[in-house]
Symmetry: C2
Subunit: 213 residues, 2 copies
DNA sequence: CGTGTATTTGAAGTATGTCAAATATCGTGG
DNA sequence: CCACGATATTTGACATACTTCAAATACACG
């Protein structure tokens, strides 16, 4: 069952030792909404471990997963004092949170966030290219390569996302994502042990499809 | 005619006084490519005046305009030591450039960039929602509202972009963009004196279309 | 082992893309 | 200042990739 989390207390997870500090660590289960688009932006957060997705909604309920985050990535960004996105864990996760004004007081934190923002901005630029100009098959190929760094060649990737979540990330429907997986299987580019266990079989063809990744 | 610019000398524009400094100001004409995706990322840049677009290309030539920049915005970001995007002026522009290592030496610069990166990251999140989940008509409405801040109500907006550039920004074709403009005219939401002069007639309907902007 | 959820697959509809032609606009030189 | 050629925009007709709706299968959990 999906659940929310109270930002101040961190319930229902175990609490770290120094509750009233401006640094706070959270241990969160999978499928927990850590913060909500539109809420007053009190804190800025870093993923220490696990995976988090940022989502935005349109008034009629259409959803976009705007960013996928892993260890080191930063979220809880504000536009007009309010969180610009909701954040939900995909896996159990450890998260560090800081008061927003800690940015002025802590130069090491500021420097780290600066580097990370640059990296995340570059990823968003790539994602704009994916969303604006790639076909469904290309998008799914790009998505799988992005989740499967060059290091883990031959390994099997465990997807922590449903077809619906992948679709919302890639700007498609869940049916189109499913068909794209089937097409990649048919062409021999990937093998699926189960719906959420992918192995990339032909990396160079995947690369070509994804237009360099 | 579109032209390139040599990053080091700033030709063919007038040169500022302190050429070998790590800060350098450039005056650039419209339609000049200030830097190229893939080139070694030596400098980081701020728009002082004018408008700049960042673009990415796929191997087969498909293009995405990933970001539109105005005064204060930062570009020249690096992924693996190389520029992640090309940057081209839309209007005559003034640009300040810094050596990349100035980030460590100049805390004021770092603090400014941090704030700006946060803002630009939020804009990219919105843009992902636009590209992933909005219809053509909604995208164009969103685009026009974004260019027409609430302040200048009733004013006429001079578009500095062709239909092709708008299409590449919104993930559409130029024909679809043109049809969307025509549809907005037909519905009485906008008035076009000329193809590149837009006045928003019915702001609330535009807002509704764009799903709050 | 059964029940509910996620995924796959099929058939049909639609928004947007593609190709093509007409019209409008801009810049240039006579 | 006007006329011309070049470029940008609009509009139309048709094609198609993706969506929508629906049903069958696979999978996970109690």
């Amino acid at each position: 069952m999906r659940q929310n989390i109270d930002e101040r207390t961190g319930s229902p997870t175990r609490q770290p030792s120094f509750v009233e500090s401006h640094v706070q660590n959270l241990r969160v289960a999978a499928h927990v909404t850590v913060l909500h688009e539109g809420d007053p932006a009190r804190r800025i957060m870093e993923v220490v471990e696990g995976a988090v997705m940022l989502t935005k909604l349109l008034p009629d309920g259409r959803r976009q997963v705007v960013e996928l985050l892993g260890p080191g990535d930063v979220f809880g960004l504000a536009h007009d004092e309010a969180y610009a996105c909701s954040a939900e864990t995909l896996t159990p996760a450890t998260i560090t949170t800081h008061e927003r004004n800690a940015l002025e007081r802590d130069p090491a934190l500021a420097a780290r966030l600066l580097r990370r923002f640059e990296a995340q901005l570059c990823v968003m630029h790539s994602h704009a290219l994916v969303l604006g100009r790639m076909s469904a098959l290309e998008r799914v190929a790009f998505f799988l390569l992005r989740l499967m760094p060059d290091g883990m060649v031959g390994g099997t990737l465990r997807l922590a996302m449903t077809r619906q979540e992948i679709a919302d990330f890639l700007g498609l429907t869940l049916e189109t994502v499913s068909r794209a997986f089937s097409e990649l299987k048919r062409r021999g580019l990937v093998v699926l042990q189960r719906a959420d266990e992918v192995r990339i079989q032909d990396r160079s063809s995947m690369r070509r499809l994804a237009g360099a990744a």
